[in-house]
């Protein structure tokens, strides 16, 4: 089947489905779509992820969500309950382990056994496919808040079948955002197709009375991704999902660190997602936003980690995002204990509460930054449509080939790896090298100009060492890297 951006017919969908369900033994349990749906409909509406987000958007409140997942069902439920009660989390996650993400279900079985034996989780997440519908439903039924799958799985079709059949009403990911940062050699046309399937599945539930939220993964590699690049990807994935019939979409953004740029990026993302969806004829979509606390290397000191967590939250609160993904004081070390995870949540909730009645006010500088990001994003998106000759899905594949879309520090062979980012003197992330990203000369000059300013104050050339220093900067306790210090 050729890749085109077009809603899958039910027949196409069902045909693929046959293969999908065969990829692991638990697939058989979800064969009956009707009864899956019936189950999903029976789940109380208060536990619906999409509806809870919609309400938060209308009330201008920001919801908190942790990351969390362990190998075994009971332990996973205990963990989520703790985060819900002690951590006051508004939305619950289930982070999926890395073997599942690579569809290595055999490894998972081993990991589950080893975990039982060791008495502690040997997996870095919850192997939902192995646990099957029984496990996934048990998780959902044991909790009184909405649950989402958070993973990083290039091919998440079977996983998505299992989670939605179990009443989980949100799924993170997308054909780009769960490919380029999460794999080495999976072709883009493959992941885009696989995520068309995932979106089509979500839309099937939606069309039959179960609102499902879909969330493209905003931060990508979490490492100095220029806002216009991550926004472009988020908007593309929103459009691809909308084409399959998805209604509830949460577009995401990972904190870069300059408050003004971050707020501008969120505003731009919100407005441009709305704009492009309308422009391409997708009406009545409900768009919410998610902000990720700093996704790069974290400081090891816990007091400093709290600072990074809170500082990010201030930005989220002032920008009035719908949801915030929370880091923990253990971030630099490893998967957090449940206490550390709850502490991250409580800290975040407190900052949100302290700022819940406040927001950012428009200044000339903010207006300017919004404009820059929007223009850059437009340059990228227009060229993607162009090279796809009007077809967005084809455009994406072609754009990555040519480096029009390009994600820095990604493991994937399928990104050109030509752009280089670095911070300007205010800490905003700029294009040090635009590679083949089709910015206008004016925008290129602007990026260059902002970096030259840093080069003058820091008395150093604009070069790759800047980028390297910036990668370590936050974990070492500052925002703008400075080699010479």
């Amino acid at each position: 089947m050729e890749l085109v951006n077009k809603k899958l017919t039910m027949d196409e969908f069902l045909e693929t489905r046959e293969e999908v369900l065969k990829t692991w033994k638990t697939g058989e349990q979800v064969r009956d779509l009707e009864s899956n749906l019936k189950y999903a409909i029976s789940v109380p509406r208060t536990k619906n992820f999409a509806l809870k987000l919609k309400k938060a958007k209308n009330n201008l409140t920001t919801l908190t969500q942790p990351r969390a997942g362990v190998a075994l069902v009971r332990e996973h439920i205990d963990l989520l309950k703790f985060l819900s009660e002690e951590g006051e989390a508004d939305l619950l996650p289930t982070t999926i382990d890395s073997y599942t993400r690579q569809n290595r279900y055999e490894n998972c079985s081993l990991g589950i056994e080893e975990s039982r034996r060791a008495g502690r989780s040997m997996l870095n997440g919850f192997p939902v496919v192995n646990h099957g519908v029984a496990g996934a439903r048990k998780v959902q039924e044991s909790l009184d808040k909405p649950v989402q799958a958070r993973h990083g799985t290039p091919d998440a079709r079977l996983m998505s079948e299992i989670i939605h059949a179990s009443g989980w009403t949100s799924n993170e990911g997308g054909g780009i955002s769960y490919n380029i940062p999460y794999s080495k050699d999976v072709p883009l046309d493959k992941t885009i197709k696989d995520w068309q399937y995932v979106d089509r599945l979500a839309a099937y539930y939606e069309e039959n009375g179960v609102p499902i939220n879909r969330e493209p993964f905003g931060p990508l590699t979490g490492t100095l991704v220029p806002p216009s690049m991550s926004n472009a990807v988020a908007i593309i994935e929103a459009l691809l999902a909308a084409e399959q019939g998805v209604v509830h979409i949460t577009v995401g953004y990972g904190q870069c660190g300059n408050q003004l740029q971050d707020i501008a990026a969120i505003k731009a993302l919100e407005q441009q997602t709305d704009y492009y969806l309308k422009e391409y004829g997708y009406d009545k979509r409900i768009i919410t936003t998610v902000f990720h606390q700093w996704m790069g290397g974290f400081p090891k000191d816990e007091a400093k980690a709290y600072a990074a967590i809170s500082n990010a939250t201030v930005t989220a609160a002032l920008a009035r995002v719908t949801k915030i993904i929370v880091k923990t004081p253990h971030e630099a070390f490893g998967i957090p204990t449940k206490e550390a995870n709850a502490n991250g949540l409580k800290c975040t909730k407190m900052v949100l509460n302290l700022l819940s009645d406040q927001k950012v006010y428009m200044s000339k500088k903010l207006k300017e930054q919004i404009k820059v990001i929007k223009e850059e994003t437009n340059c990228i998106l227009n060229t993607v449509f162009e090279v796809g000759k009007g077809d967005l899905a084809k455009g994406v594949v072609e754009a990555f080939k040519r480096g029009i879309l390009d994600i820095p520090f990604a493991p994937s062979r399928h990104t050109a790896n030509k752009i280089l980012p670095a911070r300007d003197s205010y800490g905003a992330v700029r294009y040090l090298d635009v590679g083949n990203v089709p910015l206008t000369d004016e925008l290129k000059n602007y990026n260059r100009y902002m970096l030259e300013k840093r080069s003058i104050t820091q008395k150093r050339p604009v070069d790759f060492q800047m980028t390297v220093d910036d990668i370590f900067a936050i974990s070492e306790g500052r925002l703008v890297g400075n080699h010479k210090e």
Binding site: R101, N124, S183, G334, I471
Partner: protein
């Protein structure tokens, strides 16, 4: 160039690419011949590369927490492949969660690693040790 060859990469189902790129950059700058098998690499990927390039050290990164599972039996496989006494280094976030590093180090030493590094250690520390272990003159 100091004439020493180091195989680097990220083991298992691990896609953390940033540190790997930095290590590549830093080792190259320090004069090593770097063979980078990249992320998502199996024990075999590392070992094959080491055999092919007659490497002096296999420097493994593991960030995502499954390091312990992924490294089972690696020393034995090296031995089988004829990589007798090749240096084995590992660093990153090599176990799940915040654990006492003394314990962790011991467990990995038992697996046959010569050097084991705690989270967030800079690669410069590894380079220092390489110079010592490979007797490279400054």
């Amino acid at each position: 160039m100091n004439g020493k060859t180091i195989v680097i990469g990220v083991i298992g189902s691990d896609v953390h690419a940033v540190g790997n790129k930095i290590i590549d950059y830093a080792l190259t700058n320090a004069g090593f011949n770097v063979v980078n098998v990249g992320v998502l690499s199996t024990q075999e990927d590392f070992i094959n590369a080491a055999v092919e390039t007659n490497a002096d050290c296999i420097l493994i990164s593991s960030l995502y927490g499954h390091g312990e599972l992924d490294c089972q039996g690696i020393r034995e496989k090296c031995d089988e492949a004829g990589l007798k006494d090749i240096l084995l280094y590992i660093g990153g976030n090599i176990v799940v969660g915040k654990q006492d590093f003394k314990d962790v180090e011991e467990r990995f030493k038992k697996l046959g690693f010569n050097r084991v590094y705690p989270p967030g250690v800079k690669i410069e520390a590894g380079i220092e040790d390489l110079k010592k272990d490979l007797e490279i003159k400054q």
